[in-house]
């Protein structure tokens, strides 16, 4: 039931907007429609992944490749998967939640999400606006610091989890 709180809150806001600013409401609804059209195929794909992971991947396999004993392979996988994943960030939360339940490391989840800031298809646009050398330096730093961000997240979250 708790998962409905936020959407109910947003519906209430939209109702207020509808009565106070009909034009804004109308434009927002068009924007909703446009985002939903883009998001639905990716969301469907994410849930297909969840189904297949539940079907074929046992927790011991997840633990081996994305758990505590994964080592360098886990970091590389998180970075590459983060860079290759498409669509909005929130679309990937359900899959990560599912993998976490099966034993994925906290640091890999955070690293995956951080590397979503490297958008391969958008690199030419970034180069156009900010030049090649800037794009290259920024991309390298994003990848390197994603490991630090992931490690720090795990250090704090898992430590707090233990102490609670």
């Amino acid at each position: 039931m708790r998962q409905y709180y936020f959407v109910v809150f947003m519906i209430a806001i939209y109702l207020v907007v509808y009565f106070t600013s009909p034009a804004l409401f109308h434009e927002s609804m068009l924007e909703n429609y446009s985002i939903f059209l883009r998001v639905i195929p990716i969301l469907a794909l994410v849930f297909v992944f969840i189904f297949l992971f539940n079907l074929f991947l046992k927790p011991d396999k997840i633990k081996k490749h994305l758990g505590k004993e994964a080592g360098m392979k886990g970091w590389v996988f998180s970075i590459v998967a983060g860079i290759l994943s498409t669509g909005p960030i929130y679309i990937w939360y359900p899959l990560l939640s599912d993998l976490k339940e099966k034993g994925m490391r906290t640091s890999f989840m955070s690293t995956f999400l951080y590397n979503r800031s490297v958008k391969l298809p958008l690199l030419p646009i970034m180069i156009y606006y900010f030049r090649f050398i800037y794009t290259l330096i920024l991309t390298v730093y994003i990848i390197l610091t994603s490991v630090i961000a992931g490690y720090l997240t795990e250090l704090i979250v898992d430590d707090e989890s233990k102490s609670n």
């Binding site: 708790r2 998962q3 936020f6 959407v7 809150f9 947003m10 519906i11 806001i13 939209y14 907007v17 804004l24 927002s28 924007e31 909703n32 985002i35 939903f36 998001v39 969301l43 849930f47 969840i50 189904f51 539940n54 079907l55 909005p88 960030i89 929130y90 679309i91 939360y93 359900p94 990560l96 939640s97 599912d98 976490k100 906290t106 989840m109 955070s110 999400l113 951080y114 979503r116 800031s117 958008k119 958008l122 646009i125 970034m126 606006y129 900010f130 050398i133 800037y134 330096i137 920024l138 730093y141 994003i142 610091t145 630090i148 961000a149 720090l152 997240t153 704090i156 979250v157 707090e160």
Partner: protein, 142 residues
């Protein structure tokens, strides 16, 4: 067959847990994108070399939408004389920190994880912006 049924049930449960939250986030992003025009972003920078990166980081954290939008806004900000340091912090936090999607992240991935990750990403965005600008200076590309 039983195993397929179990997997389908788990997937439907994940769908039921996540979909309402995702719909709420999309509604919030749509409203924000419509209510805040792109021209607004250039009006909030002060020209102060120390305050602007923080503003860039903060605005990028709240803003939402396609990263292309952040590149276009970033390019315009550079033209208007906003520092590359501030623009880099803005670009990074746009994609790594999500205030709008925070309720969804807290709900699905846990409150501690979501808050910790976003705070760390906020700080790291600032540090990467410093490193990027310093490195550009070293290689003579500033």
């Amino acid at each position: 067959m039983n195993h397929i049924g179990k997997s389908a049930k788990r997937t439907l449960n994940a769908l039921n847990q996540s979909l309402p939250v995702v719909v709420g986030v999309i509604m919030a992003i749509s409203l924000l994108k419509t209510a805040v025009p792109e021209s607004f972003y250039s009006t909030i920078f002060t020209g102060n070399i120390l305050i602007d990166p923080f503003i860039g980081n903060l605005i990028g954290s709240i803003a939402a939408g396609n990263p292309i939008t952040s590149y276009i806004i970033g390019g315009e900000l550079i033209k208007q004389g906003v520092s590359l340091f501030a623009v880099t912090a803005f670009l990074l936090s746009w994609v790594t920190v999500g205030i709008i999607s925070l309720p969804a992240e807290m709900d699905i991935l846990g409150k501690k994880f979501a808050l910790t990750r976003n705070i760390i990403c906020f700080i790291v965005s600032f540090l990467v912006a410093i490193l990027t600008v310093i490195t550009l200076g070293i290689v003579g590309e500033l």
